[in-house]
């Protein structure tokens, strides 16, 4: 009853004309950037952040969330029609989605990905709604040691599930943590790594890093290979999937929901990994694994559902613990802090209208997106005719202006340029870029939690092990860290 009551409060917030408008607007922006290759939700949310300073935080967050899950809907369109993922979480959709389109089933593929996104998106909002409040209540008992261990666990799960190489993932994280050190240290007030520059005392703004790496850096990588986009010249017809299609994909949807939501909840892992795992699972459980890669409908329904479920999943640790579940959620966390909200378990108590308004608006947004995506798919597909040669100069000036608008500081703009070059090399050398952002935002929080813990215990590290929850998290860290070692050892034994 309590949940229903809160949800009613949420809908009373989400259904005001302003908030409906922002949810709708966010859905459209999300779908558009999802469709356009080369710009993803992480960069977009950082880009629209400066526009939200004069807005009510609830409306702003409603818009950001809508962009986030809207991008998961839109990303599938390019994957299916031109075999280019609109954003990273749609990579797996390319495999079977594009094959379906080549077999003349583009309409069905688009429809099933829309339906699957809707089903899993909605289910995961229900799960978020039921899971978050008790978790928040539980987390109220957490002190600095628990937070430190929990964040450490988050950072290690990125390593475990994050990229192709563990060493490179850890390096990305450490790079992010090092960037987070710049500025006044959170405890003693000493300047660190500021190189005597006044501008660096406040630290490096994460927006600058995001726009550099994900905006400018991405443009450089894509500009290198002139994109030869050829839209499949099939008519998008037969949008309504047959009963058999539905039967073939319903299982994949449900599994996609569970995988996506759980992966989303785990701190540090997001939609991309969820869709990879879902695809692998579908291939494993399928009775016709040989169909995968040749246009299996489950290979579209599973990953597309999973990446949507992961979005709501990522909101669970963000709202209850103040720990981001993915790179994009990390940017949202930064945004919440900029608006003066303190993310964490108290959010449900102090700002119920904020949290529940967003949850309620996610129901609305999913319906909006289903409507937007099914009949309007040809319209969004037409947007693909906008050539990248027009798109990338636009991204360049948007990022430049966006960074300048933060503070009116040219120093930030130069810094963004610098991170653009860094971002290019990060991608070229195959380091995962998202952990850098995540670690940059988490870094100061981790450090502060550690110092506070050690101050409580008068400098003894035993406090991290003697507090039961903290100990449990640390044991999990150890387990996560030993799994790859065991795997490596086994492989070596075999060889």
């Amino acid at each position: 009853m309590d949940v229903l009551h809160s949800l009613m409060l949420g809908f009373s917030v989400a259904l005001t004309p302003t908030n409906i408008f922002y949810a709708f607007f966010g859905c459209i922006v999300g779908t558009v950037i999802g469709v356009l290759p080369g710009i993803g939700p992480l960069c977009t949310i950082a880009l629209i952040l400066p526009t939200t300073f004069s807005m009510n935080p609830t409306s702003a967050m409603i818009m950001m969330c809508a962009v986030y899950y809207g991008a998961q809907y839109g990303g599938s369109t390019t994957s299916i029609l031109i075999n280019v993922p609109g954003e990273s979480a749609s990579v797996m959709t390319c495999i079977d989605g594009y094959q379906m389109a080549r077999n003349g089933r583009a309409g069905v593929a688009l429809a099933i990905s829309g339906i699957s996104s809707f089903v899993c998106g909605t289910l995961s909002v229900v799960a978020l709604m039921l899971m978050a409040p008790p978790l928040a209540k539980f987390a109220l008992s957490f002190g600095p040691p628990e937070y430190f261990s929990l964040m450490l666990m988050g950072l290690t799960t990125i390593v475990f599930l994050g990229g192709k190489s563990i060493v490179k993932s850890i390096i990305s994280i450490i790079l992010g943590l090092l960037l987070g050190l710049i500025g006044v240290d959170p405890v003693g007030g000493v300047n660190r790594f500021t190189l005597g520059s006044l501008e660096l005392i406040d630290g490096i703004d994460f927006i600058v890093v995001v726009m550099g790496i994900f905006g400018i850096g991405e443009v450089l990588v894509s500009a290198e290979e002139r994109m030869k986009i050829s839209i499949l010249k099939t008519k998008i017809s037969g949008l309504i999937p047959s009963l058999k299609d539905m039967k073939d994909s319903i299982g994949a949807m449900i599994r996609g929901f569970f995988i996506g939501f759980i992966i989303g909840v785990l701190p540090g892992t997001g939609a991309t990994i969820a869709s990879f795992l879902s695809y692998a699972t579908e291939k494993m459980v399928s009775r016709h694994p040989e169909e995968f890669g040749k246009g299996a409908i489950a290979g579209v329904a599973g990953p597309e559902g999973a990446n949507n479920a992961a979005v709501a999943g990522a909101m669970v640790p963000l709202f209850t613990l103040g720990i981001p579940g993915s790179g994009t959620a990390a940017v949202m966390l930064g945004a919440m802090m900029m608006w003066g909200l303190r993310p964490g378990p108290l959010l449900f108590v102090q700002h119920p209208d904020f949290v529940w308004g967003i949850i309620a608006s996610m129901y609305i947004g999913n319906i909006v997106l289903l409507i937007l995506n099914l009949p309007l798919v040809p319209l969004f597909a037409a947007m693909l005719r906008v050539p990248y040669s027009i798109l990338y100069p636009f991204i360049l000036i948007l990022c430049t202006t966006g960074v300048y608008s933060l503070d009116g500081s040219m120093f930030d703009v130069y810094l963004m340029f610098f991170f653009g070059v860094i971002g290019y090399f990060v991608k070229k050398l195959d380091f995962p870029p998202a952990p850098i952002v995540l670690a940059l935002i988490l870094g100061p929080m981790v450090e502060r939690a550690l110092y506070q813990s050690l101050t409580i215990s008068h400098g003894s590290f035993s406090i991290l092990v003697t507090r039961p929850y903290s100990a449990v998290f640390l044991v999990m860290v150890c387990i996560v860290l030993t799994v790859p070692v065991i795997r490596w050892w086994r492989q070596k034994k075999k060889a």
Binding site: P50, T51, S54, G163, K164, S165, V167, K168, I170, I171, I174, L175, L177, L178, L181, D185, V187, G188, V190, R192, F193, I216, V219, L220, A223, E224, E225, S389, I390, Y392, P393, F394, L396, I397, L398, T400, T401, G402, Y404, S405, G408, M410, V413, Y414, F417, G420, V421, Y424, K427, K428, L429, D430, E447, L450, Y451, L454, T455, H458, G459
Partner: protein, 146 residues
């Protein structure tokens, strides 16, 4: 390539330990965190370097370096952006951003000059509209301000 990387990384580590003066106080000081980050980074980068050179089994496949033509493209994009942001405050948002976009479209992407100019104008005014008119962000107007 990984060698250059190592160099940068170990420099970061050294700078980290240079800050170490603050290490031991009542509880760990400002140098504690940077020091351990630097040390772990040093170990990791050594691992990376060892695998790439001695063991000849790179950790992951690195993407090939750009060819001559691609490199030129990247450099022209970076160069025009750099010139643009260096002049940004001096001659103003409208002119610099317009020139950057027009240069990229006409010179690099081989648009006809009139369509290049039209697209750049539309783009710059769209961004101007969002930031200056809608959001009221003070953008440098430069020459237009006198």
């Amino acid at each position: 390539m990984a060698g250059i990387l190592l160099l940068i990384l170990s420099v970061a580590a050294i700078v980290g330990s240079g800050d170490l003066i603050y290490k031991v106080e009542f509880s760990p000081g400002a140098g504690f965190f940077p020091f351990w980050l630097g040390v772990s980074l040093l170990i990791l980068s050594l691992m990376l370097l060892l695998k790439n050179t001695v063991l000849k089994s790179p950790v992951t496949e690195e993407n090939p370096l750009p060819g001559r033509e691609a490199l030129l493209r990247i450099l022209s994009i970076l160069g025009s952006l750099l010139v643009g942001i260096l002049l940004f405050e001096r001659i103003g948002f409208l002119i610099t951003m317009f020139s950057v976009v027009a240069f990229l479209l006409i010179y690099l992407e081989k648009y006809r000059w009139y369509s290049g100019i039209l697209i750049s104008l539309a783009m710059v005014f769209a961004v101007y509209g969002i930031f200056k008119i809608w959001l009221n962000v003070p953008l440098p107007l430069g020459l237009f301000h006198g």
